[in-house]
Subunit: 379 residues, 4 copies
Amino acid sequence: MSVFEPGSDRKFAFGRSPIFGSVATPDGSVAPVETWELIYQLGDVGAWGVALHDDEVAPSGAAPAELDDNFDKVSKALDSTGMVVSMTRTNLSGYPVFDDGAFTSVDREVRRYAIQKAMRGIDVGAELGADLHDLPAEGVSSVAATAPLDALDRYREAIDFLCGYVSDQGYSTRLAVHAKSPAHRGESLIATIGGALAFVNTLDRPEMVGLNTGFAHRASPGGCYGVDQALAVGKLFNVELNAHVGHEPNPGVGSASVGDAFFLVKLLVETNYDGPLHFDLDVGYLGGAAGICDLVGGCMRTCRALVAKAKRFADDPEIRDALTECGATELAEPSVGPFCPDAGRMLSVERFDARAMTSRRCRGQRLDQLVADLVLGLR
Amino acid sequence: MSVFEPGSDRKFAFGRSPIFGSVATPDGSVAPVETWELIYQLGDVGAWGVALHDDEVAPSGAAPAELDDNFDKVSKALDSTGMVVSMTRTNLSGYPVFDDGAFTSVDREVRRYAIQKAMRGIDVGAELGADLHDLPAEGVSSVAATAPLDALDRYREAIDFLCGYVSDQGYSTRLAVHAKSPAHRGESLIATIGGALAFVNTLDRPEMVGLNTGFAHRASPGGCYGVDQALAVGKLFNVELNAHVGHEPNPGVGSASVGDAFFLVKLLVETNYDGPLHFDLDVGYLGGAAGICDLVGGCMRTCRALVAKAKRFADDPEIRDALTECGATELAEPSVGPFCPDAGRMLSVERFDARAMTSRRCRGQRLDQLVADLVLGLR
Amino acid sequence: MSVFEPGSDRKFAFGRSPIFGSVATPDGSVAPVETWELIYQLGDVGAWGVALHDDEVAPSGAAPAELDDNFDKVSKALDSTGMVVSMTRTNLSGYPVFDDGAFTSVDREVRRYAIQKAMRGIDVGAELGADLHDLPAEGVSSVAATAPLDALDRYREAIDFLCGYVSDQGYSTRLAVHAKSPAHRGESLIATIGGALAFVNTLDRPEMVGLNTGFAHRASPGGCYGVDQALAVGKLFNVELNAHVGHEPNPGVGSASVGDAFFLVKLLVETNYDGPLHFDLDVGYLGGAAGICDLVGGCMRTCRALVAKAKRFADDPEIRDALTECGATELAEPSVGPFCPDAGRMLSVERFDARAMTSRRCRGQRLDQLVADLVLGLR
Amino acid sequence: MSVFEPGSDRKFAFGRSPIFGSVATPDGSVAPVETWELIYQLGDVGAWGVALHDDEVAPSGAAPAELDDNFDKVSKALDSTGMVVSMTRTNLSGYPVFDDGAFTSVDREVRRYAIQKAMRGIDVGAELGADLHDLPAEGVSSVAATAPLDALDRYREAIDFLCGYVSDQGYSTRLAVHAKSPAHRGESLIATIGGALAFVNTLDRPEMVGLNTGFAHRASPGGCYGVDQALAVGKLFNVELNAHVGHEPNPGVGSASVGDAFFLVKLLVETNYDGPLHFDLDVGYLGGAAGICDLVGGCMRTCRALVAKAKRFADDPEIRDALTECGATELAEPSVGPFCPDAGRMLSVERFDARAMTSRRCRGQRLDQLVADLVLGLR
C-alpha cells in the first residue's frame, strides 16, 4: 500500500540530537556525518524537511569563508533533494557555559551571550528559509541560586527581545519554546506543555510564539492529553514524534508505546495538524551513518501506518457502532449550554437517577478492544 | 520559640481526603469522626480553617431536617472554635457514576448531574462563609471514548456555567481547579499546574478561577517550579502542603522531601502568599480520630519551622554573601531590556569571552551547603 | 484464525482486584457479581482458570452453613464450566487492620492474625484444588516505626511458617510472593522482582516459593528484564499480564504499551512458560457485570495475537536475517568460556581494533522496525 | 562539634563521574583536574579515599613511560595525603563501542574487549592497593536484538571469568556489580538492588561479589528498603550517598531528599556498616576545580550531621518512648516462631479481636513528627 512507501505526501522532518553527542576517544570514535551529507541521505529516503542546529551550519568562531562554504553546501543539498529546513534551533547543549541556565543563567553576561546566540540562530534560519526557530528548554542546577520568579522574568525578557528582533529584521519566523521534563540540566524551568502555554500567554507578542513538543516526554496512556491543549489554541508549531521513554531517544514512532503514539497521531489527524512531523535522530544510537536510512525510513513507515489506522478509526463501521454504544459521540454535545438564570434554576431542580446512570456506565471495553485490534493489525 | 507553638498567626487549614476512604468490614472498621467533632479537634490544636466536602455537611438524599441539623452543628463548632471554612469541595470520589469522568463524562446526564452537585456544593460553601470552592481533577478511563478536544470543551462549559451561577447568586466565591497527576481515575484531563493555568486563560471569566495545588504531586528538586508560574499570575488560590510522594498521602510537610518543602515555603514567604496553608488528612492513615491531634500539630509545627528557615535564608549574612558570590542576586537585573533596534545591533556585535564565563560558572556548592545546613538545623 | 477465537488451548486465568473495590453509596452503587456467577461468565467466554481471594469463598466470620453453601456453589460452577482455580489469594486489602503491614505489622497480634488468615486462605485453595497460593506485597506506612531488617525477618518467619504448614497438611500448594512498586500502602517492603528472588533465596524451603509478577508495574522498553531473571531460575509461578501503567489497572494486554507486552509474551513463548496467563479485572472499571465478557474476551484475543506474533518473530525469514545481520545470534555464544590461566593470559594480550568494532556497531534499526511492523500487523 | 569538622574518622571516599563528562568546544571548555591533583585536593579537605576509573591512571593506548609516570604521581599523592584508593572502576562510558552493551554486547569481540578492559582495571586496583573493583551496569539498546536470558548468561560468564582471574593473580580484590535504573544506555539489564543480589546468587563464587549501590536511584520515602536486603546478607560492599533525584547527580547528601538520606544513614549506623561512604562528583557540575573543596567538605559535613542524628534517634528518650508507644519495638519479636504442628494448630484456633487491633493501630504520627524534628534540627 502506498501509505507504507516513501513519498513526499507528509511533512516528515528529521534532526540530530544532540549534535555534540559523539565523543572522540583513543579507542573508537563516532564521527557524525556532515550536515549536507545528512540532507542527501534524508532526501534519498523521501524526507520532506531537516531541522538544523545553528552550529551545524554556523559554528561559533567560524571564519566567513567557512560559513559561506557551509551555507553553500547546505543550500545545494536542499536544492538537489527538494527538501526544506523545517526549523532551526539554537544549540545550547555541549557548552558548559550554559549548563546552569542560558536565558536564565544567574550570570547576566551568559544570558546576553545566549540571546546573541539565538539571534544568530534565527539569522541562520531566515537565510535558509525556515519558518520556525526552536529554543531549548531552560534548566536550573541550583534551586537556591535561581529565584523562580526572577528566572521566569528573564526567560520572558529574552523571548520578548527575540520577538522584537525577528520583527525588526522583517523575518516571518515564528518561535517555539520547548516544554520538557528534567533531563540533562537539573530542573527544567518549564517542564510541561501546559506550563509553556501559560508562559506564552504572558509574552508581549504571544501570537509569534508556540510550542515544539510531543509526548510530553513520559509514557502513559493517553499521552495526547496536554498536546490537545496546545492544539486547541493553535499553539502546536512542531510535533516531536520520538517515543521518549526514560531518557533515551527510542527512535521509531511507537516502538515502545504504540498505544500512545496511535492516540497522538489520531489527534493530529482529527485536528488537521499541518506542521512538520518531526523526529530527532540520536547519532550515538545510529552506529554510524549507515543506520540513518533504515531508521528514517522506519519512522516514516510507522507514522504512515498509524495515520492509516487513525483514518480507519474514523471510518470503521464497527468502531463507529462501539463509539455510539458507549455514548462517546455524546461528548460533543453541550451539557448545559451557556449559563442563564433559567438554565440554572432548571438544572438545580432536575432529578437524576444515579443508580440508573451508574448501571449504564461507559462500556468502553468493546471500543478499547477494537482499538487494540486496530493497532495490532487484527482489523 | 513561639514559631513552634500552636497559634492562630497562620492560616493553617485541614480537610479530609478521601471522605469515603474508610470501608466497613466484618473484621474491623475505621469510623471517621463526625464533621463537627473534627472541627472541635482541629480548633483544640490551633488550626485556623477547615476544608469541607459538600457531602460532609449535605450528603445526597439527606432530609431537610438532617441538613438543618448538620449546618447547625457545623456552625456551632465554627463559632465555638473561632475557625473558618477555608474552602468547600465538590466530592466526586467514591461515586462510581463519576469514575469515567464527571464534567467530562461521555454521558450527558452524568455531566449535568455533576454540575448540579457542584452548584449545591457552592451553595454549601456560601452558606458557611467559604471564599473558595474546589473542583476535583477530571479523569478519563477510556482514551478512545473521550475525544480530548471535546472533553476540554465540556470542562470549560461546566466551569463557565458555574461561574455564571456564582455571579447570578451574588456569591463572592472564587473557584479553584485542581491540577493533578493521574491517580485514581485513569488519566487526568489536566495533569499539571501549567495545564490548569492555560485552561483558566480560555474561560469566559478567568478572574473568578484559580488553582488549588501544591507539590505538583511529584518529588523532585525544585518542586516549586510550576507553583511559581501560578504565583506569578496571582492564580494560587489554595496551596496544598502534603508531601505527596508516590501516591500515598504522607502527611506532615516534608517528612519525605523536606528540601522541596523548604523551597516551596520559601517561595510562599517571598511572594507574600496570604491564602490558606492546606493539608489533607487521610483518615485511613490516621489510625482513628486519636491521631489527628498529633498529625495536625506536627504539620503546623513543621510548617512554622520551614517559615522560620525561609526567613533566616533572607536574613543570614553568610547566605547573603554566598548568594552574591555565585551571582544569584544578578538574576533580578534585566539581561537586555526591551528590544529596540539599537539594543539589537549592539548585542549582535558584542564580544563575549566564553572561556572566562565558563571558568567563573555558578559556584552554587557553598550556597547549596548553607541551605542544607539551614534545613538540617546546623545553622 | 483459531488463535483469535476463544478456546481452551491457553491457561487464561482471571481474578478480581480489589474485591472490596466497590463502595455502596446513596447515589449509585456497583454491586459485584457473586463469585459463582463470575465463574459461569468466565467459562462462557472460554477462560481456563479463575483466581479467588479467600474472602470470595470464605469471608471472615461466615457461619459454617454459609461456607458450605459457598464451596458448593463454586464447586458446581467449576464442574459445570470445566474451569480450575488457578490460584487462591489471601486478601489483605480493604482491612484497615493490615494497612500498616500484615506479616510485618509492628503489632505482633496483627502479624499472627495475618498468618492465620493466610493459613485459612491456603486451606481454601487446597479444598478447591489450586496449585498456587498468592501472598500480597507487604507495605510499610511509617518508615521510622518499621526497622527494615526486623521487617525482613518477620516476613521470612511468616513465609517459613506457612511453608511448614503446607507441608504438615500434606498439601502440594506452592506459595507466591508478590513483587510490587509502592501503591496503596506506603512503601513496599520488597518492591522489585529481583528483591523477591533474593528474598526467596533466604527462606528455609526456597523450592516451595516463587513469584507472582508481570510487568514489574512500570512502563518501559524491555519490561521483560526482571521477569527474565525469575524465568531463568524457574521462579515465575504466575504471570500477570495487565498493562499496569501508572497505578490504574488498564485491562487488556498492551492497550497502552503493546511493545512491552510483545517482548514479555515473546519471552514467555521462548522459555516455554507453562503457568497461568493471569489478568486482574478491576470491578470498578467494568461498569457492572455486563462488561466482563467483552473485557475477558479481549484480553485473551490480544494475548493470542501476541503469541502468534512472537512465534512469527521466530519463524520470519527477514527477521531471522536481520537478527543475523546485527549479530544478535552471536549472543548465545560464550565470550570467553570458563576461566583458566591460559584463557586469561591469551585474553590479556589479545589485540582489539576498537575503531573497527565501533564502526560495525549493532545495526538494530532494521530489526527494530521489523518488530514494529510485526506488532502493528504490517507483516 | 567535632562531628561537623573535617577529620579522618569516617571512610569518606570520592570519585569522578563521568570522567569523560567535559567536552572541549570552541566556546569554553571545562578541563578536569589531573587525577593526582584531585587526590591532593581531596586530602586537603580530609577525605579518606578516592575511587579511580582505570582510564584515570592507565588510559587505553598509553605508552609504558606514561603509565609509570601516572602510577608514580598517584602513589606519591596517596602517600603524601595518607589517602587510600577505596575502589577502582572499569570505565565503559564515553566509548561508543560499549553503548549497546559491554559484557553483554551482541558482538562477541566487544564482549571480550570489555572483559580484557576489566582485567586491566583490576590490575590497576591491585597495584594501587584497592580492595574493591566496581563493574558498571549493563545496558541494552535494542531489546529485540538482545535475548534476555542470553544476556544474563553472558553477564554471568564475564563475572565468573573475572573472579577466576582475580583468584589466579592472587589478588584479594572483591568485585562489585552496579544496580542501576535505566539511564544512559537504553534499558539496564539489572536495574535493581534485588536483581543484583539474585544475580550474585547464581555466580560460581558468590562470596567474591557484592554490590555498589545506594539510593536505588529513585526518590521515595524509605529509600532504605532494597539497601536493607543487601546489608542483611552482607553484600553492600560500597554505598553511594549521592542523592540521585531524577537522573542528575545532585551532590551533597540529602540536599533534595534529606528524609531518605536520614533513613539510609540510620540503617548504615544500625548495622555497623564499615565500608566506604562514597560520593560521585560530577565534574561538569563543579564549575571547575575550584568547587571541589566546597562540595567535598559539604558532603562530609552533611553526612556527619546525619550520623549524629541517627545516633540521637537511638538515644533520645522521647523517641524511645514514641517507638514503644506505637509498638515498633515489638517488631524484633518473633510472630510465631518456627513452624511445628502444635504451633500451627494453636494459631489456627486463636481468636482475634480485629476491631480492637484496628483501634490501636500504629500511631506513627508522633514518632514521624519527632523524626521530622530531628532531621530539621528542632530537637
